[in-house]
Symmetry: C2
Subunit: 343 residues, 2 copies
């Protein structure tokens, strides 16, 4: 079968790899129908050291179940399923608490040992715990929005939940990439009154406004902090969604939270430390992490199916598997917000 393999920074190839197949009795074999390229795929695309082995890519996909192992009970051959960006058993103490990304028997797609979503098929470990059957056909018009439930929409929602967004609250979203845009959707959905997007790219800003952003701050650093304060009676916001992960964006996020506020971090941190003192004296809560997408799909799915939210609009680039390398380039060059792969 064909799949995406990354060999180093900027070096993404579509290659023939061994066919995905059932290995464990809890596995399912899924033939991919849609996949995506994630902003987090750009971290290795920017900085991965050259490797002869290569790394299988992709952690957002929807597909048809072609086979299941002997111990799989819930997932059936023929199901159309969404695969969250982490696989999980659905039964451990963390899965029971809804924190599937910390599953004691789970893990993440791709790398050197597992299939990735940017390929023709995937062996899915812990199929019963991982996969979420979708009640639609494989080429349903809402497929782009459904695909976002595997990562970016769930991640934006997680940022909003951990930032304690609620009715009437003031919110800032740091970063208008696909996750930040989904964060705007999530904040609006949870009843936020003011939603300030911090970003400077016109295409993202336009979409954010359509999703519910009430204010745009295109300044950076201390100027951005000052501008957010101006927009919030000098106070800062109650909830901040940190959707980037750089030290600078994290610093901005912590600086624009008002006393008693909360910062939900979902951008993968690229720096090892963060300020300890300023957040202490203001009683600011710092929360977030990898989103338990598996836990959120049930909550978000009706809003997608009934047309209340349209997160699939973050996809502004569509291609086939052999176009994946160009999809990476388009996202890395900021020509595209997010790339959708059709099979």
């Amino acid at each position: 079968m064909k799949a995406t393999v990354m060999y180093g920074a900027g070096d993404v190839r579509i290659e023939n790899v061994p066919d995905a197949r059932i290995i464990e009795p809890t596995d399912a074999l899924v033939v991919v129908t849609r996949a995506a390229i994630c902003g987090s795929d750009l971290w290795p695309y920017k900085g991965m050291p050259s490797s002869e082995v290569g790394r299988r890519m992709g952690h957002e996909f929807i597909g048809l179940v072609e086979a299941v192992g002997a111990d799989v009970r819930k997932i059936k051959v023929g199901d159309l399923v969404a695969a969250p960006f982490a696989w999980s058993d659905g039964t451990c103490i963390y899965c029971q608490e809804g924190l599937h990304t910390s599953c004691l028997h789970g893990g993440f797609w791709g790398g050197t040992k597992l299939d990735g979503g940017q390929g023709e098929a995937v062996r899915v470990p812990q199929a019963d715990g991982t996969l979420y059957p979708l009640p639609v056909g494989r080429d349903h018009a809402l497929m782009p929005s459904l695909l976002t439930l595997t990562d970016v929409m769930a991640t934006g929602h997680h940022a909003a939940i951990t930032a304690k967004v609620g009715p009437g609250k003031t919110v800032a979203v740091v970063g208008g990439g696909a996750v930040g845009l989904c964060g705007v959707i999530a904040a609006k959905r949870l009843g936020a009154e003011q939603i300030i997007l911090l970003d400077r790219h016109p295409d993202r800003i336009e979409l954010a406004k359509e999703f519910g952003a009430t204010d745009i701050v295109s300044e950076r650093g201390e100027e951005a902090v000052a501008r957010v304060r101006e927009l919030t009676k000098g106070l800062g916001v109650q909830s901040v969604l940190e959707c980037v992960g750089y030290a600078e964006s994290t610093h901005t996020a912590l600086s624009i939270a008002r006393p008693g506020g909360a910062v939900g971090r979902v951008g993968v941190p690229q720096d090892e430390v963060m300020p300890a003192i300023n957040t202490f004296f203001s009683n600011i809560t710092i929360a977030g992490g990898p989103a338990p997408a598996r836990a959120y799909i049930a909550e978000l799915l009706p809003d997608v199916l009934e047309g209340r939210i349209h997160p699939g609009r973050v996809f502004d680039w569509v291609g086939r598997l052999d176009g994946v390398p160009e999809g990476y380039r388009a996202m890395n060059d900021r020509r595209a917000i997010k790339a959708l792969i059709e099979f």
Copy 2:
């Protein structure tokens, strides 16, 4: 009148100072009946640069209202009142949200401009918002426990609340000083099932056990982390109360929280940064800060008055105002957990 003035590390004096008096119409004049020395008073006691001006000390006190300004409506002459460690107007946006330590028109006792609690009388700004009338006489037997509501019991409670302690949860309390001991009380009161105290001082450990600690960890650093994991099926705890403030104790606190857990910080941070990455991947919440004691008194007072909690037992040293310098020495030498001053 006489009051405590600190002139530098180890240099605490009882001196004659100008009599406290009403200045603003929102002030009250309070004659102090009980005060305390706080663990946080030891930070300047250990490291304050020499000063010719000196710094008035003390932020935990109870007293009798001797006079009120023209605009004071709720507080009456003759009231016995508890003064939280921060003064606040009770009406601003943060006070309304219960975060009195971020009051837009509030502040902290002592220093170079205000009276401190370790003195014969105090001018109390924003008297209506700040003071909490107590329904007992000035020498009631519960006075030590009532005094803890001005800071340490409220602070231990804040650590527990921000660490999301609840029924059946596993909890660790880092540091067994007066705040940590009150943290044990708070965790027990909120229904924690397992309460692990990290401390190595026999007197504190004994009291912690009486307050409800189920396990003691006297190791430090990585050994402490390993021991907490042993005690929690390898997982770590759901709630951590950080009651010290050193970089090392904060690191330990962040390391023993299990995925999805929360760390409530109430020890004043002595370091400017904390780790960003490990807490991210485990979805650990970092919260806490200066406790809004004013908001918590109403909730905790019935438990003190009806004898369900006995936080006053943290006082193991009692003296008069002229004994305050010896009280500092006793606490600094770890001969005393906490010093009570009677007037």
